[in-house]
Subunit: 501 residues, 2 copies
Amino acid sequence: MGLEDKLSELKARVTELSTLGEVMALLNWDQACYMPPGASEDRARQMAALGALIHDKATAPEMGQLVEDLAAELGDLNADTLEAREVYLAKERFEKTAKVPRELALEIIAAEARGHDTWVKAKRENDFAVFAPDLKRIFDLAKARAEYFKPYDHVYDVLLDDYERGMKTAEVQAVFNWLKPRQTELVRRILQAPQPDDSFLERDYDLEGQRKVGEYAVRKMGYDLNEGRIDRSDHPFTTSIGRGDVRFTMRYLPSVRSSLMAHMHEGGHALHSQGLNPEWRGMYLRRGPSSGIAESQSRLWENLVGRSREFWAFFMPVMQATFPEHLASVSAEQMYRGLNRVENSLIRIEADEATYNLHVMLRMELEIALLEGNLETRDLPEAWNEKMRANLGLTPPTDSLGVLQDMHWSSGLIGYFPTYSLGNLYASQFWNQLLKEQPGIPDQVARGEFGNVLEWMREKVHRVGTRYDPQVILERATGERLNPKYYMDYLTEKYTEIYGL
Amino acid sequence: MGLEDKLSELKARVTELSTLGEVMALLNWDQACYMPPGASEDRARQMAALGALIHDKATAPEMGQLVEDLAAELGDLNADTLEAREVYLAKERFEKTAKVPRELALEIIAAEARGHDTWVKAKRENDFAVFAPDLKRIFDLAKARAEYFKPYDHVYDVLLDDYERGMKTAEVQAVFNWLKPRQTELVRRILQAPQPDDSFLERDYDLEGQRKVGEYAVRKMGYDLNEGRIDRSDHPFTTSIGRGDVRFTMRYLPSVRSSLMAHMHEGGHALHSQGLNPEWRGMYLRRGPSSGIAESQSRLWENLVGRSREFWAFFMPVMQATFPEHLASVSAEQMYRGLNRVENSLIRIEADEATYNLHVMLRMELEIALLEGNLETRDLPEAWNEKMRANLGLTPPTDSLGVLQDMHWSSGLIGYFPTYSLGNLYASQFWNQLLKEQPGIPDQVARGEFGNVLEWMREKVHRVGTRYDPQVILERATGERLNPKYYMDYLTEKYTEIYGL
């Protein structure tokens, strides 16, 4: 078999794996949006069966042989060619998956399926003890899995690398150590200033109206509903069920505070997926490069665009026309200030830009303590509440509003949280560069013209796929690797102006 | 490995196959209900990949060895034990699947995926030529597949057996030959009598109201929405996505003529699936025995119950309360007569009980002519229209209202149509027996009490699963095998009264 044939075979195998991954995504989407309550056992069984199939195909000896042969034939997999990169990615994926014994991999899938159920129950009943044994099991399995990736500098590196290729725990910690005192100090100063009024956000907003303005906003951003759809679920998320099938979900509350921003957040994810290079179908290249880069796209549209003064110059009339009784007498400037109100709060996903990273840091610290054995899962609620007091000056009144708030751990997503903060930082760094290149962007946003923002992201991020590692993508787009200064400057400038610091 | 171990292994393998089948059902359901238009290529690729996996697992040599070993160990597979029956079914399924070469099986899956798309296009554009090449291909592949089942009495037997275990073409033809002159004569006499008024059915009925009364009716029948759901699609259907996940779909038109009956039809299917024996999880036993038996359950609720005078005594107030402006002055008796109006019509799924089977006979005759080589697919529209004139005295004005109306052939469902008529006949035979055993049933129906109807069906049909062949199920429940007399008597009595013949 010549090189071309081997590359074709790799493509066929990768296509099959992605195809089964899409089917898994549909199982997840349906579970969150439409599945009847009586089907949860069925769904766990279906996911376990498909998960085992995918595992077996990903670790098939023929796959191992193929990537070995291709690697040998191509020589330098760090060469700057599509073929070398694709084989590099395939080899990495194979080795990562095949290192873990099948039994352990399937145990992990089963523990996560069960863990999600018990977490839902524990959160609903505000009873951490219901979730504790599964949580312990999930962390134990994660540790057991990490064993197969020795030697490592830090056990957390193994997990982090699943979500942010090449990122090291020490690097994230250095960034967080730089940010934490600065963000804390900024928040301290903000909270001494008078708060803008945001009471108008809390009125009883018609849910269908919220859906309509949200859909209008993401269409304006460029989201193609011919190849996607928006449904409702308890927790908003975006999922790729096919190349032409990128869906996201929403949750609507009477308050309008979160739904429009959530539309733009998920819309940002969806634009990223819809913008992947169509020529790389059936290749690892055609995937998002990391969770942090993915999050940079959602946070960019949600915050840099959606929480900007310019955006509200454009969008306030749309909101007023949809909700005249609530907003006729609210100005765009009031809306801008209300949506940017800063306060210490209990819930990460509702946190403002100034405090958001503090929620993430707390989670990463706890994950590391659990993995290092310096904390037992049974002591987690206490440790959580202590850190909440230290970082945000608040004690959660219940575990549902504290340690049980996020679904991540129940689904085995350990090491994922830092990528939210990295996403914030990347987004600011991209945005800074975009404005440097195209100073007219804010004026365009104020007119509801997002084409140039999208095109820049398409070129610098979406179409790049996994052609390069996250830090290389950042460097190629902005001239430097991760630099938290851009985020801190952005926060400082924004809130100094709003709060008159 | 002892017998118990082998039976456990069989269960594990059957469970995996059913599990993947459920995932396929979800792909289908989503395609019909929610999938964005841009995803049709993705979906075909996903179905092909999953179909290939299922085929490979169903035909794995280990599966063949296992059923051989079990068959040898058990000896007589016709013995009246659960184990013997399960192994009989597993062996039959394995042999049926393994007989067909993998390449042909995958070609069939691909042709059907493409065929469905071109049929949708052809029907929308009223252009048979668009569909003709794929239709030819699908019939050619069906013939090629049948080759592997030689010797057979008739090529059509091979296809029919996929849907109605043990039924023979000659037997269906004998039944149809008996029915056809009698139904035709009944219809002739009916059409000479004055027609009941049914104009009130054609008013503009609120779709949400139709959904509500439909849901109310199926809940009353016993459909459990905790383990199911009702969505909208172009063509109503019922699907089992899990043991606790039996969904059906509906289509709503301004006319109320079909939606309530369609709810009860699909609700009947769903009750059947929800009523399968829970103790047989992971076994072939826990499946519907045939399409004809399945259809008996839907037609029973739709027609024997839903188009009965007693049902409307109970249900008319519900309809009047929901649609007062349309129905306040319409009596239950007028509704009963209106819903039972007989006329020669173009569309099978909208046909009344008196003419329905005539539509089916036409299709079976054409299928046989195509398979025998006595008809070319290109001549099909002409042959269709000729038979429509002969059987129903009508010429379809367009192919969309004629040969293109049904989706079955495009999905490879050849040999399926007769099971609709068998379902009608089975339903009447079951119903006749039920009334003999429990003469109080009509009074119960008139009070909206369906518990005893459901319990009888649960015991005689639903919980029986595939424990017995269709004809045996019929015989055990009613004391005799298929006898079309019950259906003909039912029709004659019903219409003689309504039309005063």
